[in-house]
Chain length 350, copies 2
Amino acid sequence: MSKVNGAPQKRLLQVLNGQEGDQTPVWLMRQAGRYLPEYREVRKQAGSFLNLCYTPELAEEVTLQPIRRYGFDAAILFSDILVVPDGLGQTVGFKEGEGPVLEPIADLAGLEKLDLARVLEHLEPVYETVRRLAKSLPDETTFIGFAGAPWTVATYMVGGRGSPDQGAAKAWAYRAPDEFQKLIDLLVEATILHLSAQVEAGVEVLQIFDTWAGSLPESAFRRFAIEPMKKIVAALKVRYPFVPIIGFPRGAGPMIVDYVRETGIQAVSLDTGLSPSWVRKEVQPLICVQGNLDPLLLVAGGEEMRNGARFILETLGDRPFIFNLGHGIVPQTPPEHVAELVEFVRDFKR
Amino acid sequence: MSKVNGAPQKRLLQVLNGQEGDQTPVWLMRQAGRYLPEYREVRKQAGSFLNLCYTPELAEEVTLQPIRRYGFDAAILFSDILVVPDGLGQTVGFKEGEGPVLEPIADLAGLEKLDLARVLEHLEPVYETVRRLAKSLPDETTFIGFAGAPWTVATYMVGGRGSPDQGAAKAWAYRAPDEFQKLIDLLVEATILHLSAQVEAGVEVLQIFDTWAGSLPESAFRRFAIEPMKKIVAALKVRYPFVPIIGFPRGAGPMIVDYVRETGIQAVSLDTGLSPSWVRKEVQPLICVQGNLDPLLLVAGGEEMRNGARFILETLGDRPFIFNLGHGIVPQTPPEHVAELVEFVRDFKR
């Protein structure tokens, strides 16, 4: 680890600030999760998934687990994008093996039940988790907070669950765009509150996940993905000009260029399907990029995984770059493959 | 309708041959389907979904239904991409409301049970449907045959069903790429046979659906999406040089450019998420494009649908272009919205 003035340097923060380091920083989306036996142990203790998110000592513990095992360059707060609707007062649950189930909101009457004023109080256990982690994380580990982007969170709030085509949210957005816009605007406000509170409690970087941005047609992508993100970034930059923000407009394809140019983010996370060769030409000259190994290559391990990682590092590694997956770790991932991957990235010589 | 030498001209074929017409041709993916009451009637009669595909008079009838209602410029054979694995001897079923269920194949022993030699005989009812339609379709209607691309068909054959991350197929492809390649190669052969038989029976255009190409990382996209497509197109071009082929690499993002340049197709279908502004600059100069209204805009209808269609027509309509959706019609689509859309496209003045 390089030191300046005796203090350990955080590789990930350095890269986000445009400094070239001696090694590519690496962390993995969903690095705290079901693929780890020690996570499953804590998950059992917690009872419900939301209870795990809202119990600071347990959420702290599962955030630290992958740092202990693998020494990642960043820890991402263990939480969920759906704590925001929960904080707003929508009924949110998680069914084992089925994912989130919400009581759907699809009209103005449903919107009126949501209350921005209760978000910060309701999510206080999350900020307590952040305060604990700010103390317990190793000095060299960058601490990332996060939230879902308004469009993605809205797809769950309106649909009541994940769906392959986001049909329910689109139905509302297309039938009554000005009504739907009120939900997006509310989520912009709630997201700013939630991310600000995380910064106040001690996170150093923010990532905003727009997991379902990819199915939006061009004009809806501008209205419901780029515009809300612009407002969130602008509000945060006024308050915390030195906290880098990473955007993840999953599946945006070539629209990622407009997203990068217009939102004011400091780095962009790439999904698995976006080709590094294209990114090198069209995106990396504009911004620091992060990504994008196929999580299924991490399941496979071995030669194919190393070939995939090598191609990414060779294509993107000589400009500001953070190694990551193109989507979250899947539960069937063998933990030893994660160790192999981290070692491979650390040993990679450009 | 324009006539040359007294024969009615097929608008869609003209555009595919690079001729500018007076009107933008329009058809919609899954235009024969559950959103139509007359389809649901025939579907009931047929018993199983595969029985509907394999009963020529019923498959003919449902292919014709949307042509009668809307006068689309093209009819697409009513069939399914999974008739190919069924033809190869894999057990394929369709559960009501659940989609396809196959007995998964994930090793060489499974592969050995598949038999290329039985495809044409087993799928004879499909070709009989084509022969009937070649006679019964209106003179001005272009007749499109189709197949799934090898990668997409393989995801169902290996996973046993649709899956959001194609995890099973990727697991095999990444663990033992040379084994998995044997499945892809077999599907290349089967697809060439199946599409050739459709041409011999009377289709005029072919579309190849690579619905799940979008989650492949760059090198796997080259190997499992571009390369097989190249072989299929090359084989068909030798036999049927004048039958245009439309590719649909759904979710390919910017990789669609390489796909277009390398596969030898005559047109490319665009998914909903691909922005027309980008396509106009980067793809349309290379090839005829087709697409890409959000199917959920067709559910919504009204002003938002017209705005979406107008934007596409204004952006792409003045070069060789076929109006379509970015994905198939969904069952909850009101049939009157389809009529509205077709009228809007026909009335649109550039």
